[in-house]
Every structure is written in C-alpha cells, then in structure tokens.
C-alpha cells in the first residue's frame, strides 16, 4: 500500500512563503478535501504533493519513504495524476486522442501503442461516461464534459493518487455532482483522491477526510465534523454557518457573513 506524505513542507514563490510547514499523510481509498479561502495555499499543497513544485526542505514530500524530488518524472506521473483547474484544451484534438495522451508515462519513446494502453484508455473513457464523445473535438465541449475528459486522461495513466484542483469550480450543479460521484467511486475502488475545493457542502457530503488550510498553514485535519466546526468556519472563512438537515439526514450548510 502506497503512502504519499508531506512532512513540514514549505513552498515559496519569489519572496513569499505560500505554504508553511504543511504535514499530511495520504493512503489507500481516501477521499480527502482541501478547503480554505482563496489564496490559502490549497493549489500549492496539491502541486507540492504531485512533485510539480519543489519544497523546502527538498525531502519534505515523500512517496513510499522516498523523496519525490529524487524520483524520475515519468515514474511520478505513472503513480500520481494531477488535474489542473485550467481546463483549456488547445487545438482540436479528439476526446480519444486527449485520453490517449494519458499513456505517455507508460510508453517508451519508440514503443507502439499496446493492448494494455488501449484497454486503459477504453476503461478510463467508460468510467467517465464519455464514450459518446470519443470522436468529438475536445475544444468544442462544454465545461462539464471537458472536465470529465481531463479526468479520463488522468485515469488512463492508471494512477494510485488522483489530485484534482477545483474540479467543480466552473461546473453547474448537475455536472459537479457527476464529477464528485466519480471521485467517490474512485476512492471506493482504492485510489487516493485529493480534492481542492470551495464547495463546503460537497465536502461535507463526500469527503472522508477534510484538511483546512488558512494563510498557507494547515490548521486542522480530520473528519468533517471535527474540521468544519462553527468556530473554524468563523475564523477561517469569516462566515457563520447554519447546519440544516437535508432530505437524507446529512447536514446542509447555509452561510451568512459575520
């Protein structure tokens, strides 16, 4: 069982320290939500975990006990998928071509596409429910469809960890529920899914673990009820939340400015 962890990881961009000594451990079958206000460092933490941004100390992010900075880029890519918030698709690639790009870290420079590659692409497309779009030009899709295509590309990698930066930010209600359901089913099948998001109600409903970030620091990690307390919501988000019972008995938050 693989473990991806950050141990007091700091990240700075230019002169500014944007992630301060963050510690977090991720393993099998979790759906972890990173929450926090704009600019709190959620995306930074995701990029550090994906090995895309370097940390101080250099060895602060470890994959199975090895510093991620020492692991070959392709090996990281085979195990950790990162879905960026920017869902722009440049040029009129078909959906299938986009998803096939996900096999890049598995194929040698001169290797032909093999049976395993085709099977992984087929499964990823089926899992994200985009078979009917396979031959469409990906840059003509709606936001929700595009997001699913990009997730499918990451699943074609067959990664153990799936890190998504605000996957529902630009989606309407139905599509964001679709993406969240997909995340939940990924976690149920053994993936580690990490989700940076603003949608606290989604977090409450879907996440098995919640990480609250504020001004570059992880201020709380734990279950929904532990982390999204009245007190932390007031301190971090500067809102008051009324928890109302939803139809299924789960709480739904209604927010008011302080």
């Amino acid at each position: 069982m693989s473990i991806l962890e950050a141990r007091e990881a700091s990240v700075s961009r230019g002169q500014r320290l944007i992630l301060k000594r963050a510690s977090l451990s991720l393993t099998h079958g979790e759906l972890v939500a990173l929450v926090g206000p704009n600019g709190s460092g959620k995306s930074t933490l995701l990029r550090a975990l994906a090995g895309l941004w370097s940390t101080t100390p250099r060895e602060a992010v470890m994959l199975d006990g090895r510093p991620i900075a020492d692991i070959d880029r392709r090996e990281i890519a085979r195990r950790i998928a990162f879905v960026s918030q920017d869902a722009t698709i440049h040029f009129a690639f078909t959906v299938e071509e986009i998803v096939r790009m996900g096999r890049y870290p598995h194929r040698g420079r001169f290797a032909r596409e093999g049976g395993a590659d085709r099977e992984a692409v087929r499964l990823a497309i089926a899992r994200c429910d985009i078979e009917h779009l396979a031959s469409r030009a990906a840059n003509t899709l709606s936001g929700g469809e595009r997001q699913r295509v990009l997730i499918a590309r990451s699943l074609a990698v067959e990664p153990e960890f799936v890190l998504l930066d605000e996957p529902t930010a630009s989606l309407d209600v139905e599509h964001s529920l679709e993406v969240l359901d997909l995340c939940r089913s990924l976690a149920a099948s053994g993936h580690v899914v990490v989700l940076a998001t603003h949608d606290l109600n989604a977090v409450a409903r879907y996440a098995s673990k919640v990480v609250l970030i504020h001004q570059g620091e992880i201020v709380a990690t734990g279950s929904r009820d532990e982390v999204l307390s009245q007190q932390s919501l007031e301190q971090v988000f500067r809102v008051r939340a009324d928890a109302v019972a939803g139809g299924d008995g789960q709480p739904v938050y209604v927010f008011h400015r302080l």
């Binding site: 880029r73 392709r74 960026s84 001169f110």
Partner: protein, 347 residues
C-alpha cells in the same frame, strides 16, 4: 481523422510529383515533360536503359543543372519551414506562431549575414547554414524568454516579442550590410541572399539543406508525443511525465535547425510555416505524429508551386518568392487573427 490519412497522401503525393515535373518543364525555355523525364531517367538509371539520343546537351543542362536543383531546394525549404511551423505552434500553443513571425527567420538571416561579413561563407560552404541555425536558435530563445511567463504564452505578447526581436535582428543585419557596403561584391551577395528566393540554386545548395531538414524532421517525429502534451500546457505536460525543460530545449533546437537550413539556401520566405500546417490540421487534425510528416510533404509541394508561380507569372522577370508566399499567407494569418480575437472576446 485517422481514416483520412491514406486518402490525404493518395491525393498529395501525385500533386507533389506533378508539380515537380511541371516546374522542370516550364520556364524561359519550355521543355516537354517527356524530355524532362528522359533526362532524369537517363541520369538516374544505368547507361543504355533510356534512349537519350534525342535530348540535346542544352536541354540536359537546363533540366539537370538548373531546374532539378531548384525544385529539390524548394521542396526541402518548404518541408523544413512547414515542419518548423508545426513545432512552433505546439511550443507556443498558438496557431499563429511561425518562423518569420516569431523572429527565428530574422535571427537566421542575421546569422547568415555574419557568416558573409566574417568571410566564413567563402572559406567553407557549410558555415552559412550553421550560422543561420545558430542565429535562429538565439532568436527563438530570446522570444520565448520574453513572451512566456510561468509556462503561459499569451498570443499578443508572443507576436509583440516576435515583432520586436525580428525588427531588432533585421536592423542589426542591415547595419552590418551598411558598414560593409564598400565591399561591393560581398554586399551584393548579401542583398541577393537576404531578399529570399530560389534563383540560381545549384546541387550544392541542395546538399547544404537536405541533410539538416531530414535530421530536423526525424528529430521532430521522435518528439511528437512530447509535443502533443506540451501543446496542452507546460504544467499538464510535466504532470504526465514530460521533462518539460529538456523537451523545450530539444524542440527549440530542432526548429532552429529546420529554419536555419531553409533560410541558409532560400533567404527569408515567410508564411509557409503558417499556411501549410494550418491547412493540413484542418484535414488531418492536430496530432503531431500525423501532422509533422503530412505538413512536410504538403510544404514541399506548396513551395514548388509558389516558386513556379514566382518565375512564370511575370516573365521575363521573376517575382520574389517571398512575395508569392506572403500573398498566399497574409490573408490566412489575418483570418486566423480575427477568429482568435472573436474567440477571446465572445468566449
């Protein structure tokens, strides 16, 4: 899109072949295509296989020493510039990028001018393409550094940086020309070369250009999947395991080799790298593994035809090749720019 590939080549290869034969037959002295084929076959096949008794010495010279080298150089230059355009568009994630728009062409010209002025071009023929490639490489690195911030290259910044670098490098070229104008023979060589065109190309020009274009094409094909991912953004590429910095360096080098090789033998011929990949992409889609070779073949045919137009439309004088390609390419560039602008303002 994939099913269209055989059809695409089935239509394009005969066009390429026909335009080559046409370009060898038409000219100030018109020859029959039978004569052209007979000369070519007579040179390539073992003696005695083809009856060349009816071909005069003059006809043989015109075809073999004047027209064939010109056609072959046109094909290489067209293939090189088109492939170079494909790579640049992917690197800059922008269908408007092209050797002559992003300063690489001007850099290659400056490299060439330096080779003339320093006298290297006299001592060694290979110095001209090498200097042009180096110039293209430096210009590209400069423009990329100016136009890209955090892996993002906005279209306006790219075009402005390209224009700025292009003007600066062209100014330096002109300056070098001006201060060396006293050396009349050399200045004439430089001007003749800078204007761009394929008149008086010989087999030497072909051999100077062809190996580098071939090398560049092979290198580009090897990197075609890196290019697909880089086209989706640097961070995306990195997250799928592309070593972004090294891939960018290799691709910049590749496109500099292609541009430099083309500019060294033809001067600056604009818009080929824009028009050809754009047209091919409409038919075959943007996947670089398909787009690169298809654009190279289409670019070869396109430039042979442009050159044919350049030397036959206004006989007995020639129109400069760059004028013909600009007349074809300018409108395409403007159309792309308008569409791009609409996408930005309405999307």
């Amino acid at each position: 899109m994939k099913t269209r590939i055989p059809l695409f080549y089935a239509l394009l290869l005969p066009v390429l072949l026909a335009s080559a034969v046409l370009a060898m037959a038409i000219g100030s002295t018109s020859l029959g295509w039978g004569t052209v084929l007979r000369v070519v076959a007579g040179k390539l096949l073992p003696a005695g296989w083809v009856d060349t008794a009816h071909v005069t010495h003059a006809e043989s010279v015109i075809v073999w020493l004047i027209r064939i080298p010109r056609v072959l150089v046109a094909a290489c230059v067209g293939a090189g510039l088109a492939a170079s355009g494909v790579i640049m568009q992917a690197l800059f994630r922008n269908p408007l990028a092209e050797p002559s728009r992003v300063g690489a062409g001007a850099g290659a010209v400056l490299g060439g001018v330096i080779a003339f002025v320093a006298g290297w071009s006299v001592t060694s023929v290979i110095s001209l393409p090498l200097a042009a490639m180096t110039g293209a490489l430096i210009a590209l690195a400069l423009v990329y550094a100016m136009a890209t911030r955090g892996g993002v290259t906005p279209v306006t910044t790219l075009l402005l940086a390209g224009v700025a670098a292009g003007s600066l490098l062209t100014a330096v070229s002109s300056l070098l020309l001006s201060v060396n104008i006293v050396n009349w023979q050399m200045a004439q060589d430089i001007v003749f070369w800078m204007m761009g065109g394929l008149d008086a190309r010989t087999w030497t020009h072909f051999w100077l250009c062809a190996p580098f274009v071939l090398l560049g094409l092979v290198a580009a094909m090897v990197q075609s999947r890196d290019l697909d991912l880089l086209q989706q953004g640097e961070e995306t590429a990195a997250s799928f395991g592309v070593d972004v910095e090294s891939a960018k360096r290799m691709l910049t080098l590749t496109t500099a080799v292609l541009t430099g090789a083309a500019v060294a033998v033809a001067g600056l011929v604009g818009f080929v790298g824009l028009v050809v990949p754009h047209a091919v992409r409409l038919v075959l889609g943007p996947s670089n593994k398909t787009l690169l070779p298809a654009s190279a073949v289409a670019g070869a045919a396109f430039l042979i035809l442009c050159d044919l137009a350049a030397r036959t439309l206004h006989q007995p004088t020639e129109i400069r090749l760059g004028i013909v390609t600009a007349l074809c390419g300018g409108p395409v560039f403007i159309a792309l720019l308008i569409r791009r602008y609409r996408e930005v303002t309405t999307g």
